[in-house]
Structure formats: structure tokens, C-alpha cells
């Protein structure tokens, strides 16, 4: 028995085990320790897998030693290991942060359930990423989704309940669409293993059920990844969920769904000629453009800072899907690297906003919504928090020196390679919208006078440190890109090579 050999299983099992343990122990503090340990173990495992992929290429792990395509296969390639790192890493940072934050946001007796749900959600997201089995993806998708609905409903505002309910309805429809699509594929190929399926699809690529399957899967996953205009669940869910949940979901949940879409489009359907009959990339391109402009534009006029950045997420997801739609190595590199870069920047922003609302709360009181009239002159009270939001915001704009610039560079390069110069203009114009919404925050926080004179009252170190870790990561991956771009480019080359 070699531990390294079983890393793929441990990746999911460790956080999965932490959740029931947390429930059984029924104590907030212990639950925190158990789930955080699970998340850190998952992070360590993800690092191990990432290194292992670098040595051996693709890792194939057979659950219960049943050989694929009969047994369930866990399959880790460069893309999967990259996403695993993002998900586990975010969890490892957000969980310690959330300890102080949920103290004020969630009733004490529910804390252990919060940690249990967090563990389940993490396990689900990691499972989706690592598994090589189409139906297994569905199961993990539902594990993470159900946990997510509960996490959102834990928000203090009563609108969190309706937001969770709406997300439950839309999320379930999305997941069911996905499973319908998988059902058709299973009918046509007789396999659920993604690699096997890709091979067998070549024989039936022109049949109508396969087309239908692709359409169902694309729409279903698009619902989960909040592709415009299927994003309606997202703004409310992000706005009313507890801060830690928002930060974690913004960095991971939609990103993992994007990963699933990339998997199906490039790994499963990549070798078929199906895209010549179904103009999905063209549709995706138009919807991405709509997201980049419409969602960013709506973001400018939001009064609640969390909602503003929630709409910004919808817009930024547009950049990722735009990169996918090019079907080229640079396009896919842009998509994958932005998936990562946007994840860390958004996690940083939502963590900082979390610290900010705690600072706004009256002693012992509940944190209020971060509306702009409450943020006036806040930069003087919480300089580090506000400055962090500005830096992460610069990454959303794509200012050089931040991670967002790297994504934009590849995205524009991809558009130029495709000869689509009008798209270059569109990408750049939409960046200007990002300046507008980020600067709205700057002007209110830095220039509008504070309603009452208040001294410096910065968020506590436990809240600042994890958030600033992510802010520094945003800067770091804007300058040293050997990890982020290196992984993304390697993954993209692999995926497109499979497709070509």
C-alpha cells in the first residue's frame, strides 16, 4: 500500500469524511478543526497530484480496482490538477477566515452544520473535477449543489432563503439537463467513462441523439456556470449568502462547472465533427459578449457592493467562455488562466468585503448590507481592507502587473490569431466598464466624507491575513506566470491536440 498511489482517492475522501465527523461531534470548534484539517489535507493532496502529473503525465486511478470502462476511473491530467489546486487552495484559505466571520453571521448552534456543509461542498467540487465518469460527475455535482443551497440559506438576510430556493430550482434543472444529456450518450455509446465515450462517439457522431445530448449537457452546465442569460440565480445567491460562502463559491463553484464544460467540449466531443453541425461555439461567443457587456454594465449601477461584484462575476465568466469559443490553444489558455486568475481575485474581494461588513456592524450587532451610503469615507477607517479591494479590482480591469492582465493578454492574442479584430475592440471596451464599477467603489470609499468621524478601525488580523494572501497572489500571478500560464498552456495544448 503506497500512499502516493492513492492520492486521487484521498483527494475526495478526506474532505468527504470530515463532513459527517463534524456532524457527529456537534461542536463548532471541533467541527472547525476537523473540516479545516480536511481542506488542508485536500490542498496538500492537490499539490501532490500536481507534482505527480508533472512527472508521469495523466494519472488514472481505478476506484475499487475495477478497471475502466466498467469501474469508475479517477483521471487527473494537467487541467484537472490545476482546478483541484484552485478549489482546494481556496477552501484552505477561506475556512480559517470564516471562523471569525460566521461568529457574527450564523447562530452559534448551527456552526457545526456550516462546517459540515462546507466539507461536503468541497468534496463535491473536488469530485467533479477528478472523476472520469460522466454519471459520477452528476452525483458529485448534486453533492456540492445540495450543500451549496444550505450554505446560502444560512445567510442572515431573509432573502437568503428565497435566493437559495431559486438556486435550488435552477440548479436542479441544470443538473437534470446534464443527466438527460449523459443518458442519451449512454444510450448511444454504452459507456459512461469519458475517455471510452470519446472513442466510441466517433462511430455515432452524426446521429441525432448525440446532438441532443451535447445540447442538453451544454445548457445544463451553462446554468450551473451562470452563463448569461442563465445567470439569474447568481446575483442574489452571492449577495445574501454569508461572506465566506460567497467568497468560496465565487472562486470555485462556477469555475468547476466551466471545467466540466471544457471537459465535454474538448475531451469528449473534441474528436468528433459535431461542432460543424451544431454552431455551439458561435452561440457561446455571442452569449459571452452579452455577458461581458450587459452584466458589467448592470454591475455599475448596483447599490450593494456584494451584488456589484456578483454581476461582475457574470461578466468575467463571459471572458472565460469567450476564450473557450475560439477553439484554439491561446483561446483555451486564456480561458483556463482566467478561470484561475479571476477565482483568486474574486475570492480576495469577497473576503475583504466580508471583513468590511463586520467592521460596519455595531458592537454585538449583525453585519449590515454593504450599500454604498455605508461605505462613504471607509478608506480612512479600514485602509488595508479598502486598498486590497482596489488592487483585486485592478485585476478585474486587467491592469498590467495584476493577474487579470495576463488573462486579457492571451484573450486578445487569441482573438488576433483568429483574425477577429472586432472582438479585440469588444474585449477592451468591456474592460472600461470594469474601470467604471471598480472606480465607483474608489470614489465612495476614498473621497466621500464619512458620515461620522471615526478613528482607524481595521478588520482583525485573522480576517485580513487570508484575504491579503489572495491579494498578493493576484499580484504575484501577474508577474510570475510560470505556474499559472505554464499549467494553463500545457492543459490547453493537451486538450486541443486531442481535439485536432
Amino acid at each position: 500500500m503506497n500512499l502516493v498511489e492513492h492520492l486521487p482517492a484521498l483527494q475526495v475522501v478526506l474532505p468527504l469524511l470530515s463532513a459527517p465527523l463534524a456532524v457527529l461531534l456537534r461542536h463548532g470548534g471541533i467541527a472547525f478543526a476537523v473540516v479545516t484539517a480536511g481542506a488542508w489535507a485536500a490542498f496538500a493532496t492537490a499539490i501532490g497530484l500536481w507534482l505527480q502529473v508533472g512527472e508521469v503525465g495523466v494519472i488514472s486511478y481505478h476506484i475499487g480496482s475495477w478497471a475502466p470502462p466498467w469501474g469508475i476511473e479517477y483521471r487527473v491530467d494537467r487541467l484537472a490538477s490545476f482546478v483541484l489546486l484552485l478549489v482546494a487552495g481556496t477552501a484552505a484559505i477561506v475556512l480559517p477566515w470564516s471562523r471569525a466571520s460566521i461568529e457574527r453571521e450564523i447562530p452559534r448552534e448551527l456552526h457545526y452544520l456550516y462546517y459540515a456543509m462546507f466539507g461536503l461542498c468541497l468534496a463535491g467540487l473536488l469530485g467533479i473535477t477528478i472523476t472520469g465518469d460522466a454519471f459520477n460527475i452528476f452525483v458529485f455535482l448534486e453533492i456540492s449543489s445540495l450543500a451549496t443551497y444550505v450554505l446560502i440559506a444560512l445567510g442572515r438576510d431573509r432573502r437568503a432563503l428565497t435566493a437559495a430556493y431559486r438556486y435550488l430550482i435552477m440548479g436542479t434543472i441544470g443538473a437534470t439537463f446534464y443527466v438527460i444529456g449523459v443518458g442519451f450518450l449512454y444510450l448511444m455509446t454504452g459507456t459512461l467513462n469519458l475517455v471510452d465515450m470519446a472513442e466510441r462517439l466517433r462511430d455515432v457522431e452524426s446521429s441525432r441523439p448525440v446532438l441532443v445530448a451535447l445540447a442538453f449537457i451544454t445548457v445544463g452546465v451553462s446554468l450551473k456556470l451562470a452563463l448569461f442569460p442563465l445567470h439569474q440565480w447568481l446575483p442574489n445567491a452571492y449577495t445574501y449568502a454569508p461572506s465566506a460562502v460567497t467568497a468560496f463559491l465565487a472562486a470555485t463553484a462556477t469555475k468547476v462547472s466551466i471545467y466540466v464544460l471544457i471537459r465535454f467540449w474538448f475531451s469528449v466531443f473534441g474528436e468528433t465533427l459535431i461542432f460543424e453541425r451544431l454552431p455551439l461555439p458561435e452561440i457561446l461567443l455571442l452569449l459571452s459578449l452579452a455577458a461581458m457587456f450587459a452584466a458589467s454594465f448592470i454591475a455599475i449601477f448596483q447599490d450593494n457592493l456584494k451584488r456589484l461584484f456578483a454581476y461582475s462575476s457574470v461578466g468575467q465568466i463571459g471572458y472565460i467562455t469567450l476564450g473557450m469559443s475560439f477553439d484554439s490553444v491561446s483561446g483555451l489558455t486564456a480561458a483556463i488562466v482566467h478561470l484561475f486568475n479571476h477565482g483568486i481575485a474574486k475570492a480576495a474581494i469577497f473576503l475583504l468585503i466580508g471583513g468590511l461588513v463586520l467592521g460596519l456592524a455595531k458592537p454585538g450587532g449583525a453585519p449590515p448590507a454593504p450599500t454604498f451610503d455605508r461605505l462613504a469615507g471607509l478608506a480612512r477607517r479600514m485602509p488595508l481592507t479598502c486598498f486590497g479591494i482596489v488592487i483585486a479590482g485592478l485585476s478585474l480591469i486587467g491592469v498590467p502587473g495584476t493577474a487579470g492582465f495576463i488573462s486579457k493578454w492571451y484573450l486578445i492574442l487569441a482573438a488576433m490569431e483568429a483574425g477577429q479584430f472586432w472582438l479585440v475592440g469588444a474585449i477592451l471596451l468591456s474592460s472600461l466598464l470594469a474601470i467604471a464599477y471598480v472606480w465607483r467603489f474608489v470614489e465612495v470609499a476614498y473621497f466621500r466624507p464619512a458620515p461620522e468621524a471615526a478613528g482607524r478601525q481595521e478588520a482583525s488580523l485573522g480576517l485580513l491575513l487570508p484575504a491579503w494572501l489572495l491579494v498578493i497572489a493576484t499580484l504575484w500571478f501577474g508577474l510570475d506566470t510560470s505556474f499559472s500560464v505554464g499549467s494553463a498552456a500545457e492543459a490547453a495544448r493537451f486538450l486541443v491536440k486531442v481535439g485536432g
Binding site: G401, L428, L432, E443, F447
Partner: protein, 483 residues
Amino acid sequence: MTALSLALAIPLLGAIGIALAGRRPNLREGVTLATAGLLFATVLRLLDPVLAGERPQLTLFEILPGLSIAFRIEPLGMLFGLVASGLWIVNSVYSIGYMRGNDEQHQTRFYVCFALSLAAALAIAFAANLLTLFLFYEALTLLTYPLVTHAGSDKARAGGRTYLAILMGTSILFLLPAVIYVWHVAGTTDFTAGGILPAGMDSGTLTLLLALFMFGIGKAALMPFHRWLPAAMVAPTPVSALLHAVAVVKAGVFSVVKVIVYVFGLDQLAGATDWLVAISGFTIVAASVVALNADNLKRRLAYSTVSQLSYVILAAAILAPLSIIGAALHIAAHAFGKITLFFAAGAIYTAAHKTEVSQLDGIGRRMPWTMVAFGIGALSMIGLPPAAGFISKWYLISGAMSQEAWAVVVVMLLSTLLSAAYFLPVLWRAFFRPLSAEAQQHCHGEAPLPMLLALTCTAAGTLALFFFPDAPLALARQLLPTP
């Protein structure tokens, strides 16, 4: 550590030192001055090797495969670096007088941002490729934003909004795609003598790319993207003086010259710059006309800057070797002249609290020293001997004549007349009109000593550049490929 990395590190370390010394103003200002002095000494040490033909290099790290943050000193960057770092010393002296004289708030933030802006300006000067240049170009915009909006008032916020919107907007919309396109077609963004673009690009693409660069470098204030410069005048005067007469705007025209000489190459561009000549010529004249009608002294100076910046663009656009020398010289000459003028304007504001030209009647009797310096600066702007502006203009016009671009010669002469028309009345008012009744009650003398000292230095510099132009000239000559 090499002198090059020192030159980049000193202002950064200085910024940290200033932040740490924030509680004790005297120590803080001491750190500022020491940093500025050290920086200038370091940059000066680089001058001789560069003149001797060395090209110090520094590669920091690879930001994208094949694209590094890298620095390499070439003559033009050397010139810009020298001017920016040298004037920073003088400006620091001036700032101390100004900020204390006017009891400004948040002085620590001011000095920290100033040092960081200087670091960014030097990084632009020494950038070895377009990506590095773009990185620090944007950094400079963001670092100067807190300086522009220093007052924190609604007016400052509005000015800051225009400043940021135009500079960020143009650089993201035009400059970034231009940089990426160069990378896309050339596979490199390193500045190389003679240009890096592949031969045989069709002229339409070339013109479009040039347009993206020229309008994308919004800091060069080519019309119609010049509005940020007057808007930035809400900043305290030392900021207007060093940043918006020297570091920021010069970073703009410096980038323009650099792109034309090292990315396109003079030969490649032949015939593709007629429109640029026309637009920069128009900017020169139009901005002068606006300056003529501006009553606010700083606004008049700002439009004068817009006009003078286009001299450099125009000179580069003519593509004549002589005019490129003129462009390089003008970067230095205008810097000294304009900073003197701004220093004088700030001195007048601090001593007499006057901001409008029409209020300056007879002020030359109260502040003779300041107004004499103003006069020397104005001479340089007009281009008359014995001020530095004369030499650069000489090369510009010679270059235009060598290309037989008579329209350009006419534009230059016309703008000379216009400059005279908006500067000489100020002097005439100051020295020959009687003091107004209201001004007679308000008693004041010259501005505080540090400010006076600073503007004397720069005025002297303006004259010195006329009599001893050897070093800048030698640097400018090296820009051209040796025959």
C-alpha cells in the same frame, strides 16, 4: 548591485523610508532629499558608460514565455532618466516649501506617491521592451492618481476622474492591442534600433498600428486626448511641475519617440506619417490658441505643455535624423523651461494667493526674482536665445527643412508667435502695470526660500542648457544609427 538596478531600487526604498518616517516631518523630508540626491548620483554614474557606447541591461523575470520585465539603457532613456531624476531633487526642495507654506494635508502620502511615481518614470525610461514600458506606464497613471486628487475635494475628484478615464481608457483601448499586435506579428517586443516589425507590412495596417500607438499613449496629450492634462491641474503645484511638465508627459512623448525609432524604425514608416504630422501640427496651434484665452495661469501653462509636447511628436513624425535629435533635445529643454514656469506659478500662489493672469498686475515689483525666472522659462518656451528651447527648435526646423516639409516650418513659426503672444503679456503685466488697489493692501514679498531656490536652479538650468548642450546633444546623436 549594478548601477541600473540601484537606480530602480533607490526610489522604491526611498518610498518605504518616507512612509516609515511619516510621523516626523523633518526626517521624512530629509529622506526624500537624500533619496533624490542618491538617485541622481546613481543615474549620473551611468551617463559616461552610456556615452561610451555601453548598454547596461537587467532582466528581472519572465512574465510570459519569451516576454520579460527587462531594462536596458539606451541614449534617449538616459536623457529622460537624467532629466527626471535631476529635477526631482530641485522639485523636492520646492515641494517642502510649497507643502509647508500651504499647510497641505496627508503629506506623507504625497511624498510616498511621489517617490513611487519617480520609480515608475525611471522604469519607463530604462524599459527594454514594450511590455515593460506598458506595465510601468499604467503604474505611473495609477500612482499619480492620488497625487492629482490630493485635495480630496469634489473638484479634485472630478479632475481625477477625467485624468484616469482618458489615460486608462486610451492605454487599454489603443495601446494594449497595439502592443499585443506587435508581439503577434513580430514575435518580440524588444526595442531594437531600426525597428522590429517584419518588412513588407502593408501601409494600411502600418498606419492603423501607428495610430493605435500615438493615441494610445495618452500621456503625450495628442488631441483629441489632451483633456486630462488641464484636468490634472487641480493637483498641488509641485505635482503639476514635476509630473505634468516633466515625468508623466515626458514619459508620453518619450514613448512616442521610442516606438517610432525602435519599434517601427524610420525607414519602415516613410510615407505613413503624414496624418500624424497634420494632427500634431494642429495640436500645436490649437492648444496655443486655447492657452491664449486661458486666464488661469496653470491652465495656460497646461495648454502650453500640450502644444509643446506635440513639437516632439511632430519632430519624430517628420522622420528626419536632425528632427529626431531635436525631439530628444526638446524633451530636456521643455522640461527645464516648463518646470520653472510652474515653480513660478506655485510661488505666486503661495506668496500672493493669486491664480489668474489678470490678477498679476505689477507683481514683478513684489516678486522680481520669481518673475525673472518666469521670463527665462517663457523665453525657452518661445524658443529664443539664450534659453534651451532655442537649440531644440533649431534642430526641429532644420530637420523639417531637410525634408522640405515647409508646412511644418510654417506651423513652427506660427506657434512661436502664438507662444510669444500668451507669455509676453504675463511679463508685461507683471513688470509694467501698476499694482491693483486690492493688491496694494495685501502685503507680501517673495515666496519661501526653498521655493525660490528651486526656481532659480531650474531657470539657471534652462540657460545652462543653451550654453553647454554637449551632453544631451551627444546622447541624442547616439539615437541615430551611425552611418
